[in-house]
């Protein structure tokens, strides 16, 4: 147990966890119906898409990179998947094609990031991908997808929503990949000092590109799940997620400079963002006031995180 606590304190997400616990305590006090099992499941269901997106993005941020195209990637892959299913392609095949397209998008992002700053490169691909999605949809919206597909978004296994299970599997895979494998270690090394990683004989280019591929694959999966949940596909459906995903990762304690943080923290960040909205809905905060509160909470959370980390490093 002591070992676990030590490890936890060393991880940069420790303070985000304190933030989450604080938020849950406050939520339980001000909204009595927050603590119900039903509401917990609701929160997890609402957080699922964000969890998938932000876990993937964590890999990119750990290398010190940025991917602003996750929203558009989700939108495009969701649209292509819907079109394929509508035109009679079997669901599993459509799903696999969606993942492959995600991988391709990530590969292209990674190649571009070798040439220009990741902020600019992925901001630009975000536009290109959004445009492609509009072309795929011919400017229209698709409705009424087969039940077997929408189950991914709205179905349950016992009391647990299918999309929560999918999100959990992806989170666990990424956690293991980044924390327990040599690949994950290379990602952290690269993020801490890319030149030192290169001088240590690590395949730096492959590492960097692969993180973008992981990110875009997750975005693709998230896009298909959004489609299933909405029972519809629309070129703009990923838009809202882009910056929210970045926020979840950063609130979770992953440094934008790379090398610090991880999927554990990102889960906390995604939950924090989701819980804030959930509590406001429970308390009947009018929807026009909600964005303002979200903004303020993000500032408070990240300030707390930064200050705590500073104090901790002064102790060393």
């Amino acid at each position: 147990m002591m070992k676990f606590m030590d490890e936890l304190k060393r991880s940069k997400s420790f303070f985000s966890l304190i933030g989450l616990i604080g938020l849950v305590i406050v939520a339980s006090i001000i909204a009595p119906n927050f603590r119900t099992i039903n509401n917990m499941i609701t929160i997890l269901r609402q957080a699922s898409v964000l969890l998938i997106l932000s876990s993937g993005l964590t890999a990119v941020l750990l290398t010190g990179g940025m991917d602003l195209s996750v929203g558009a990637t989700a939108g495009l892959v969701g649209c292509i998947c819907a079109q394929l299913i509508k035109s009679g392609v079997p669901i599993p095949v459509a799903f696999i094609i969606g993942i492959l397209i995600g991988a391709l998008i990530g590969f292209v992002n990674g190649l571009l990031v070798g040439l220009l700053p990741s902020f600019i490169a992925t901001y630009a691909t975000n536009w290109v991908l959004t445009g492609l999605a509009v072309m795929v949809m011919n400017g229209a919206v698709i409705y009424d997808l087969p039940k077997n597909f929408t189950k991914l978004g709205v179905g349950y296994v016992g009391p647990i929503p299918v999309l929560v299970i999918i999100a959990a599997i992806i989170v666990v895979i990424l956690y293991i990949l980044l924390q327990k494998t040599t690949y994950g270690r290379q990602v952290y090394s690269y993020g801490s000092n890319a030149e030192a990683a290169r001088y240590s004989g690590m395949p730096v280019k492959k590492i960097m590109i692969s993180t973008f591929m992981i990110c875009s694959i997750c975005a693709g999966i998230a896009g298909m799940i959004i489609t299933a949940r909405l029972n519809a596909a629309d070129a703009a459906m990923g838009e809202a997620y882009g910056l929210q995903t970045v926020a979840a990762v950063v609130i979770g304690g992953t440094s934008m400079l790379g090398g610090e943080g991880g999927v554990g923290g990102t889960v906390i960040g995604a939950l924090i963002l989701t819980i804030i909205v959930n509590v406001m809905n429970l308390k009947g905060v009018p929807s026009f006031a909600q964005p303002m509160v979200v903004g303020i909470v993000i500032i408070v959370m990240v300030l707390f995180d930064i200050n705590s980390k500073r104090k901790q490093s002064q102790k060393q």
Binding site: T182, Y188, A196, S200, M202, G259
Partner: protein, 502 residues
């Protein structure tokens, strides 16, 4: 020599897990250079930072001109007239010299805009007082040479009209000639009655500038002595705490066949021109040359950092195309780079993770890793190499230079390459750590590894090498065996001069 201006009495500073300073006394007189020496981690920098108010001491007091000093932060210290010139530059590369000197306290015109004219004339006057009028005050700092930047740092320090200046390893980035001109400036400062604290490793500098020396070891003051009252040997013994009769250790080895050979190697930048060298197993081969002679570029070429224009590299007699460090490492070549902070370590990562960064795939060939095993390996490294740290989880940025270099060595020892290139392996580290590194190099050679050592320190090259290549302006100009050379010969060849008859 003037009266005492600064006195520190019984200074104790404790960091978690270590006592950085233990009841240290120190005093500084006006117009003197008081040298502070000691191994890495001995407490030199900590003492300097206590005087500057960066750290608050746990016990003891500092008196400035007889008055008890209560400073918190460099701003207070500057107000009192105590300034520091650091080893790492604090200048902003894109701002001009004048802008840097008066950063954050720019002169204003009546309307409140920045008065560039006044700033420039003041900056010019300052540089002139340092005999550096050749420095263009309008040029952005990044265009200046390292030595010029150092001078700008000093000008900036002087602009505060200080009574005390603390120099922290000021010559570590300078060439010998640049260092000489720095010493001349320090003499001028002395004449003005400024007290100077000079933190350094370089013993050969001490008699040139010092008046008194204070030796620190493990946070304790060992002695304060006049510069002429002790020999180098006594000084080293005090610093290291044991008798050090021989700095360079070489056990004679048999050479067991060729490990690395280059043929007519050239790079695209023109810094390496047709270099051919041979490196045998069990041999330490030195490359002597001035900074900029192409030594580092040669190492980078062999290691696959930069692409080869022409020429070939053979490892164990077989041709190898050094296209990337990945490939070099695969062929059993390791590089201890000249800049450990930039290329050697991920400073924000734990010692343990740095120590296994090269050998990751070797230790865990099956993709999954076990952190316990990493920590165990790192613990062994810490014990073996005597890395001073509280734990293997400590981030490398909190280690002293010598201990950082040991982590870099641990990185390669864990991988166990057959050919190791050491580029300036002892730059900026203390005598004790240096000797340990020499011992390690000797041991590696005895194990049959082939070692290529690049160094600016001639005594080091001569002391350690079985064979020496001399490089000048990208070409190999000379090669000689142990015992066949003198320092003078090699020195003049480095400068591109002929040696009688050759």
């Amino acid at each position: 020599m003037g009266k005492t201006i600064l006195t520190a009495v019984g200074i104790t500073k404790v960091f978690p897990g270590m006592k950085a300073l233990d009841k240290v006394d120190f005093d500084l007189r006006a117009g003197e250079v008081h040298i502070l020496v000691g191994e890495n981690g001995a407490g030199k920098s900590t003492l300097a930072k206590v005087i500057l108010g960066v750290y608050k001491q746990d016990e003891g007091e500092v008196f400035f001109e007889g008055e008890k000093m209560e400073v918190s932060g460099t701003k207070d210290a500057i107000a009192k007239g105590i300034v520091a010139v650091y080893q790492e530059f604090t200048l902003i590369p894109y701002l001009s010299v004048a802008q840097n000197i008066f950063l954050n306290r720019e002169f204003r015109t009546k309307l409140g805009f920045i008065d560039h004219k006044k700033m420039e004339s003041e900056a010019e006057a300052l540089l002139k007082s340092l005999n550096c009028e050749y420095i263009n005050i309008k040029a952005p700092v990044k265009q200046l040479s390292v030595a010029e930047q150092q001078m700008v740092e000093i000008a900036k320090a002087l602009s505060y009209k200080p009574r005390v200046i603390i120099f922290d390893e000021p010559t570590s980035a300078l060439s010998d000639r640049e260092a000489e001109s720095l010493f001349a400036q320090i003499h001028n400062l002395k004449k003005k009655g400024i007290g100077i604290v000079y933190v350094s490793h370089r013993m050969e500098e001490f008699p040139k500038i010092g008046d008194r020396i204070t030796v620190l070891r493990d946070g304790k003051k060992i002695a304060t002595i006049g510069i002429n009252d002790c020999t180098d040997h006594e000084l080293i013994t005090m610093m290291v705490g044991r008798d050090v009769s021989q700095v360079y250790v070489r056990t004679q080895n048999e050479h067991k066949g060729e490990a690395l050979r280059t043929e007519d190697l050239s790079d695209y930048s023109g810094k390496v021109k047709g270099v051919s060298i041979v490196l045998n197993r069990g041999e330490i081969v030195g490359i002597a040359g001035l900074v900029g002679s192409g030594r580092t570029e040669l190492a980078q070429l062999i290691y696959g950092i930069n692409p080869i224009k022409t020429g070939k590299v053979y490892v164990n007699g077989r041709e190898m195309m050094p296209k990337s460090p990945v490939n070099a490492v695969k062929h059993g070549i390791g590089l201890v780079s000249e800049d450990r902070k930039k290329y050697g370590l991920a400073l924000g990562e734990a010692i343990a993770f740095n120590a296994i960064s090269v050998s990751l795939k070797k230790i865990f060939p099956k993709f999954f890793m076990n952190k316990r095993k990493i920590y165990d390996i790192a613990k062994q490294n810490v014990d073996q190499l005597r890395i001073v740290t509280t734990s293997v989880h400590k981030q490398c940025k909190f280690l002293s230079g010598g201990n950082q270099q040991k982590v870099v060595l641990a990185k390669w020892l864990n991988f166990n390459p057959q050919i190791i290139i050491f580029d300036e392996p002892t730059r900026g580290i203390d005598v004790g750590a240096k000797m340990e590194i020499y011992k390690l190099m000797d041991r590696l050679a005895a194990e049959g590894k082939a070692i290529l050592m690049i160094s600016s320190e001639l005594p080091e090259v001569i002391g350690m090498s079985d064979r020496i290549y001399v490089m000048h302006e990208g070409r190999m100009v000379d090669e000689c065996k142990r015992g066949e050379f003198t320092a003078e010969q090699i020195g003049s060849r480095m400068l591109g001069l002929g040696v009688g008859g050759r």
